[in-house]
């Protein structure tokens, strides 16, 4: 049969204009890897409000959005900036109660996405039991997401998790075609279940390839075109986080970010300088040292970093 012939390539600004305030956005980043920075910046420029974010392991993406005050609720398994530090803005917002944080574990959040992706409204799990993580979910707004039951076949005690179905899933990939077929190199953490659980999927890709390239290894297609609403082509779009096979994390900029993120006032400076006072990703990259600087981060093909 013929291939789908639809060009879904759009700019980050165009795509973000279609995301309403109050949306539940699932983020595809992990700590300091494959964060959807270019879309996060645009969400901040367009000052979206009252967002719910979900993610197994938060990174700079979530920290930026919370630090910019766009977020009212989190559903997360954990988070850090690896050796560079903690998710300071997120933790501050939790401490002050600025955000409601539903804390899970990596697997329980991933099971929630899996249930969403499979179209089953609940799924059993043996994690979280006998922990304060579950106590806190059951004691607060998380209560509507968990139940306990016994397996009717084995009698074993289970926790039931409500399916997670984000309004929008954002995932940064290495390779996609103009129709949205995309490939992820390296580990994929929760990206496949997360994207397939969502009502809308937005892909940010480092490289745009002809569909013929996708057809050469269809086993590698992690998210097929018909699940993808838009494709944003943005080289270095995850900077300063790493994209396996494309470029390494930017240690200098991550340190600079952490210095700002630790203090509310300085965080505002960071957002002014690198987000609000830049019009797009090229201008942002320019301020971080420009192509000359980021090209130094480019990966060696054999090693992928």
């Amino acid at each position: 049969m013929d291939l789908v012939k639809v060009d879904k390539v759009k700019t980050a600004a165009e795509v973000v204009r279609t995301i309403p305030d109050g949306s539940h956005i699932a983020l595809g980043g992990f700590a300091i890897a494959r964060n959807v920075i270019t879309v996060v910046h645009e969400l901040i420029r367009q000052q979206k409000k009252a967002l719910t974010l979900s993610q197994c392991v938060m990174g700079m993406d979530t920290d930026l959005l919370v630090g910019a005050g766009l977020v009212s609720r989190l559903m997360v398994g954990g988070g850090s900036l690896d050796r560079f530090g903690l998710v300071y803005c997120v933790n501050r917002a939790r401490e002050t109660g600025q955000v409601i944080s539903l804390d899970y574990s990596s697997l329980s959040l991933c099971f929630g996405y899996l249930a969403g992706a499979l179209g089953i409204s609940f799924i059993p799990i043996k994690s979280l039991l006998a922990s304060e993580v579950l106590d806190r979910l059951e004691a607060g707004p998380g209560a509507e997401h968990v139940r306990r039951m016994q397996c009717p076949f084995t009698g074993e005690d289970y926790l039931l998790l409500k399916a997670i179905t984000p309004d929008v899933s954002l995932v940064h990939v290495q390779v996609a075609d103009r129709e949205g077929n995309c490939r992820i190199d390296g580990p994929r953490w929760e990206n496949e279940e997360q994207a397939k659980a969502a009502h809308r999927v937005i892909v940010i890709t480092e490289e745009l390839v002809p569909t013929e390239q996708i057809q050469r290894s269809p086993e590698r297609t992690v998210i097929p075109a018909h699940r993808v609403e838009a494709v944003i082509h943005q080289p270095f779009g995850a900077h300063p986080t790493a994209v396996f096979g494309c470029y390494d994390y930017d240690a200098d900029h991550l340190k600079l970010y952490v210095e700002h993120a630790r203090h509310p006032a300085r965080m505002r400076e960071y957002l002014e300088t690198y987000v609000m006072n830049t019009r797009n990703h090229e201008e942002y990259l320019g301020k971080t040292g420009g192509l000359k600087h980021v090209n130094k981060l480019k990966a060696k093909p054999v090693f992928g970093y």
């Binding site: 789908v4 012939k5 499979l118 269809p218 018909h226």
Partner: protein, 253 residues
Amino acid sequence: MKEVRATEIMAAAGAKQLRDGEVIVVGLGLPQVAAVLAKRTHAPGLTSLLEIGVVNMNPVDTPVGLADSRIFYGGTSWSGFLDILGMNLHRGIVDVGFLGALEVDRYGNINTTLLKDDAGKVRYFNGSAGGNDVASLAKRVIIIMRHEKRKLPMTVAHLTSPGFAGGKSRRELGLRGGGPHRVITDKALLGFDPDTHAASLLSLHPGVRLEEVVENTGFPLQIPKDLQATPLPSPDELRLLREEIDPKGVYLG
């Protein structure tokens, strides 16, 4: 131009049921031909899925079945049952599912499991495979089959894949999918009454007499006052079917 075959009318009728941008689960044969015809005409953005894990296959040689490597060719994604039937069909994003059948009854229930002879002796066939899943979960189910009295009984010998079982609504049955939408045979196009959920005659293929259809249907058919004729494929559709999509007449012959 040679006479239009019933299979060509069926393929064109199947294509007309598909809208641009829809996601469909196809089987081998006429459903695939109908899908390609729709893609080449009014629905270029159609996505075709095979239950075993193939998206948008584009075969250049004729497969003998779903397990034939020829049908994998040109696919943009190769996965498995869990992805296609789970993360697409069960997820609720499949608009149309095409199904064949040993038997279909007046409520669009499908039997692909077994037949009984007059002595009550049972003969087994293929069973459900993905059929029950598609019938339970697709938004619209389109059945393509030959129009014979024994294949269209009042009640199926085995209810493998539910339509409007017992004349009940899908909601009453606790099923998510919309259920049977059309039955496309070599004689006519059937639909289902929104209230009674019983099969009704929508149109007769050109040259087919009403009596012929009634005699070859094992259950009472609702006959509308304004009985239409199934439109013939357009010259362009015929050209595509005969010259590009199935030039060897493997499925249309």
